[in-house]
């Protein structure tokens, strides 16, 4: 972010995060699905009082799978009790001999739940707890361990796992947000000041409450090679979706290939023409077969 010189900057007060209410008018609290409030991309913002977590990656180069965070958040993964975030904590139970024997009598699921809630109250930290049984494999596969009685916060998704280390941010450090008003929707959303102008910058300042350093990242899914089938399939489907959306927007329901090519700067046009023809044809064949 570049701070303009010789221009007065005023910080705008952050809005309170919208709380979803159910039909009876009761506020849906922590247990509710945060994803429900995120209807459009603009709703995912730090310009309100919503909580946030900062993750600092400790590797100095190449961690492409880190993109996952933004995407997973945007898809509104349902967090379970206690936490409004989707990072987790792995703890391995410390069991006495007696408890181990008792295991057969107690219902596994309920027991797990009990231990989990105990752990949360003790830790008082963010995250959805996972309780590991003594015989369970380490969440970090063969490359890291959770000792009995130990709790390790972790970042996990379908693509990576990584241990997290909580850091206390300096009391003099803040998160500054610069927001440039770009659409009419933004102007309309700004209830504090109706006279906002398109192109105007607004600044917000937030306290950093949660700062974690991300340790070794362990991939869970293989990144496909440049010429793999997975990649060509993704390109094909993405091309179709973009084509459908552009068609829906265009007045005559028609489009030029150049408009599509903007989204795929690394692909060659000839190949894309082929994909546009063949891709939609084969999809049509599937549709026929399934009789839809």
């Amino acid at each position: 972010m570049q701070i303009p010189a010789n221009i007065e900057i005023r910080f705008t007060k952050v809005r309170s995060a919208k709380k979803k209410k159910d039909k009876a008018g009761r506020r849906l609290g922590r247990g509710s699905n945060v994803g429900e409030n995120l209807r459009r991309t603009g709703d995912l913002s730090l310009r309100d009082t919503s909580n946030f977590v900062l993750w600092e990656f400790s590797v100095s180069f190449r961690c492409p799978l880190c993109y996952v965070m933004l995407y997973s958040f945007a898809t509104g993964r349902t967090p379970t009790h206690h936490s409004e975030f989707w990072d987790g904590q792995y703890s391995r139970q410390l069991l006495s001999e007696k408890e181990r024997e008792g295991r057969t009598y107690t219902q596994g699921g309920y027991r797990k739940h009990l231990v989990a809630s105990l752990l949360i109250t003790r830790q008082g930290d963010l995250g959805e707890p996972f309780v590991l049984e003594p015989q369970d494999e380490s969440p970090f596969m063969k490359f890291g361990y959770v000792q009995p009685g130990q709790t390790i916060p972790a970042l996990y998704s379908n693509l990576i796992r990584a241990p997290l280390f909580r850091h206390k941010s300096y009391s003099t450090d803040f998160l500054v947000i610069k927001f440039v008003i770009s659409t009419r929707h933004d102007c309309f959303n700004d209830t504090a000041n109706r006279n906002t102008i398109k192109g105007e910058s607004k600044y917000f300042i937030r306290e950093i409450k949660n700062l974690f350093v991300v340790g070794q990242t362990y991939p869970v899914t293989e990144v496909p090679g440049p010429h793999s089938r997975k990649i060509t399939n993704t390109i094909k489907h993405r091309l179709q979706i973009i084509a459908y959306k552009l068609l829906a927007k265009s007045p005559g329901e028609r489009l030029k290939i150049s408009r599509l090519m903007k989204y795929f700067p690394d692909q060659n046009e000839l190949q894309m023409r082929q994909r546009l023809k063949v891709g939609l044809l084969s999809a049509g064949r599937c549709r026929l077969l399934t009789g839809v």
Binding site: S60, P64, G225, P226, Y244, R254
Partner: protein, 138 residues
Amino acid sequence: MEYHRRGPHQGFWRLKPNWVVPTRAEMLKMVGPEQIVLSESMQVGQRHLQDAGYSGTQDTGGDDDDSHLSIEQQLAPWITTKNFIFATQAKAMLRLHGEGDPTGRGEAFSFIRVSMKDIFVKAGEDYEQKLGLSCWHS
């Protein structure tokens, strides 16, 4: 879709008649967030190699031996992630330290693959020296 060579829509692409456009939900199913992340991760790695001067033609697929590739090429995300997943299944061994450690200061694991027959070299040990020793012993 079809390309209109003549007629009122000359030069434009249009949907074929009777074509059913999938719903929003169906479209979301076509490409999941994970797929996007994976393909963009690949692109980041590919671009990195291109910027480093590799033409990108030496794309190794399958479980071939990657040792003929340079360190930079072996660090392509599609190679390191594959190595790691093989290693968790005990099908491969990783170098763990030295070149390819993403922190560059011995705080993370290097996912570069080593031959299953190779000797294990601890952090700080010299490969040549250890190899010499083991030869001498046998």
